[in-house]
């Protein structure tokens, strides 16, 4: 037998042995995710109780998680599940808990305060939510009290909506050559400049729909070297509000990773616009916007849906200006809660610390998506 066959036989035998060991004596976490048992068998400490709860939420073991709560008499299991995954379809409805962190805030012999940070993996990236849990001793074990946030229920009603709606009829395939078609919306880049960041070049700007019809917009940029050769082409992807009503302005941000600004000779911008059927509804009010200075610089505020339509996903885009009115940064946040009519929902957009001191003013726009199509 040569050395190759010997090695293959050894690897095969080792694999079989490891499979047998893993099956007979599984790791606690694997067993928990397989539904066999909790990762931590005992809630002998406040932290362990909250960790158990986090693991059960991670495994979507709602029944076990609900059963482990100290204040479960205050709400039903369905309300507990809806509190975590949303009462109406939202980003959280189609997400999974990626990981969680537990941080003790305060502890005594009979109760404790723990902070549970949940990192949800959503279709648009990570979404983080934090809950402060009161944990109480019950005999020899600890139980968490879930700070339930009950979604306000909408009273049955009829809300008349008479906002404008645009539909588009394009020329048909049977039309003669030269037959007139509807014009694409006229859009204009009203501001644009590149910024060098640690991870590459970023192009910031604003795009205006100067037409009288709604536009679906996107922006593509091509960096050209000093001898006018293309370096790279990137698009704004979701760092833009793709639907612009007449005279509406959206910021955009385009990233060019691993590119140095010193090597860029010029930039070719390509705004794209297309006619799109759209509605002027819903109208979202952005209330109590505040620029919070560093450390932890951010823009916070509340979204209030002034229309009757339920907004399933809201995308908040903030444009940050310096004292001269120049755009210094564009940042965004997806709100993971449904926007119910007249129900304020908070948002928080983080601003890079090094840029925060240059920010003098800001402007916020909200792109909304309702189930059944984008609005």
């Amino acid at each position: 037998m040569n050395k190759g066959n010997l090695l293959a036989g050894f690897l095969g035998a080792t694999t079989v042995a490891l499979v047998v060991i893993g099956t007979v004596w599984p790791a606690p976490s694997a067993a928990a995710y397989a539904g066999a048992q909790n990762i931590l068998a005992s809630s002998s400490t406040p932290e362990a109780a909250v960790r158990n709860l986090g693991s059960e939420i991670h495994a979507r073991a709602w029944e076990k998680a609900y059963a482990s709560l100290a204040n479960k008499a205050q709400f039903t299991e369905a309300e507990f599940v809806h509190d975590l995954t949303g009462y109406y379809p939202s980003l959280l409805t189609y997400s999974a808990l990626d990981k969680f962190e537990v941080r003790p805030l305060h502890a005594s012999a009979d109760d404790a305060e723990m902070e549970l940070t949940l990192h949800w993996a959503t279709v648009v990236g990570s979404s983080v939510s934090t809950r402060d849990l009161h944990v109480v001793r019950n005999g020899d074990k600890w139980e968490a009290e879930w700070p339930i946030v009950k979604e306000p229920t909408l009273p049955p009603q009829v809300i008349p909506v008479n906002y404008l709606r645009w539909d588009v009829i394009y020329r048909g395939p049977g039309d003669d050559w030269g037959a007139q078609d509807v014009e694409a919306p006229h859009v204009r880049i009203v501001d644009m400049h590149p910024v060098e960041r640690a991870d590459g070049v970023v192009i910031l700007g604003e795009l205006l729909n100067e037409d009288v019809v709604p536009a679906y917009v996107s922006v593509t940029a091509t960096l050209l070297s000093k001898d006018q050769l293309p370096i790279a082409t990137e698009g704004s992807f979701d760092k833009i509000s793709h639907l612009l009503l007449p005279k509406q302005v959206t910021p955009f941000l385009i990233k060019f990773p691993n590119v140095a600004l010193s090597g860029v000779g010029s930039i070719r911008m390509s705004p794209v616009s297309a006619l799109i059927a759209a509605s002027a509804d819903p109208v979202i009010e952005i209330e109590d916007e505040k620029l919070n200075p560093a450390p932890g610089a951010s823009l916070t505020g509340q979204l209030i849906n002034q229309s009757g339509q339920i907004v399933n996903v809201a995308h908040v885009l903030g444009t940050f200006y310096d004292q001269s009115g120049k755009v210094v940064w564009v940042a965004d946040q997806y709100v993971d809660q449904t926007l119910l009519p007249q129900n304020p929902v908070a948002f928080q957009i983080h601003i890079p610390e090094d840029l925060a001191r240059n920010v003098s003013s800001q402007r916020t726009v909200v792109a909304t998506y309702s189930s059944g199509g984008s609005q």
Partner: protein, 289 residues
């Protein structure tokens, strides 16, 4: 030696002619034929032959009696272009060519008008290009006068007369100061083609809002929003209301409805309300109540 040269040339010429037309067959082709019109080809000689006419995507074949006239009825050749004719017999053939030209009278216009939607008051903002065709869709390359006319319901009319060269004529017109659907007509004689150009309002001008208290809220209402030519800005246009107070800010993007935008915002003493639409700023109101 000098006296034998003409004789040799005569013999060569005779021999060459005998090779090309062994039976003395030939045909007489027209130089041009108007598209769709009847035409005829006269042949000489005796016996029978096959006449082929080969053109752009089209071949005609006729068995002809040499010495007679072959008549092609109207509609035989409709596509303008260069055609080859071959008169073929078993042992010889003759070829020639002729052109089919467009009809002298235009029958159709392809009118490209751009844009279909334009703000008012743009100099040379509307362009129209006309391609002139005959009844068989042949591009008419002969110089042809084309009349362009842009008119609207208010009675404003712009006219241009342009000579089409190589089948195409184009012009540029100004958008007027009044919004509406303009008729853009290109005409040659009785043949015309019409396009509709929507003239839409420009940017808002003199944007102004008023404020009044309604309980814990302030109601902000704009005056009817118009452009600098007095045209009403269309409904759906976004008007942005902003309230600034104590380092905080509230914003609403409100579409125009019935020509005005209206919003209710919370009352904060010392707050400043501002209004804008696109890149146009309106007035500011400072709330001291």
């Amino acid at each position: 030696m000098r006296s034998r040269t003409p004789f040799l040339l005569t013999v060569l010429a005779f021999a060459a002619g005998h090779l090309a037309f062994p039976q003395g067959a030939s045909m007489s082709l027209p130089r041009t034929v108007e598209a769709g019109k009847a035409f005829s080809i006269q042949s000489t000689g005796s016996g029978t032959a096959t006449l082929y006419i080969v053109g752009l995507g089209q071949v005609l074949k006729r068995n002809v009696q040499l010495g007679g006239v072959t008549v092609f009825p109207p509609g035989s050749l409709c596509n303008a272009g260069h055609y080859l004719a071959f008169l073929a017999r078993e042992s010889s053939s003759e070829s020639g060519s002729f052109d089919v030209v467009p009809e002298s009278r235009p029958a159709a216009l392809s009118f490209l008008a751009k844009p279909s939607r334009i703000p008012v008051g743009i100099h040379d903002g509307i362009t129209g290009a006309v391609y002139v065709f005959d009844a068989y869709h042949n591009l008419m390359t002969a110089p042809t006068p084309v009349s362009f006319e842009l008119s609207n319901l208010s009675g404003s009319v712009q006219q241009r007369m342009v000579i089409a060269h190589d089948g195409v004529a184009w012009t540029a017109m100004d958008s007027t100061a009044r919004q509406g659907m303009d008729r853009f007509v290109a005409r040659i004689g009785q043949v015309s083609s019409t396009r509709v150009v929507g003239q839409v309002p420009g940017d808002p001008c003199g944007l102004k809002m008023n404020a009044r208290q309604m309980g814990p809220l302030v109601q902000l209402v704009t005056d009817p929003v118009r452009d600098c030519n007095g045209n009403a800005i269309p409904d759906g246009t976004v008007v942005t209301f902003t309230e600034s107070y104590k380092g905080a800010q509230s914003t609403v993007d409100e579409p125009l409805k019935n020509g005005t935008a209206e919003v209710q915002m919370p009352v904060h003493t010392g707050a400043t309300f501002s209004v804008a639409s696109g890149v146009v700023m309106g007035n500011q109101i400072r709330w001291e109540k």
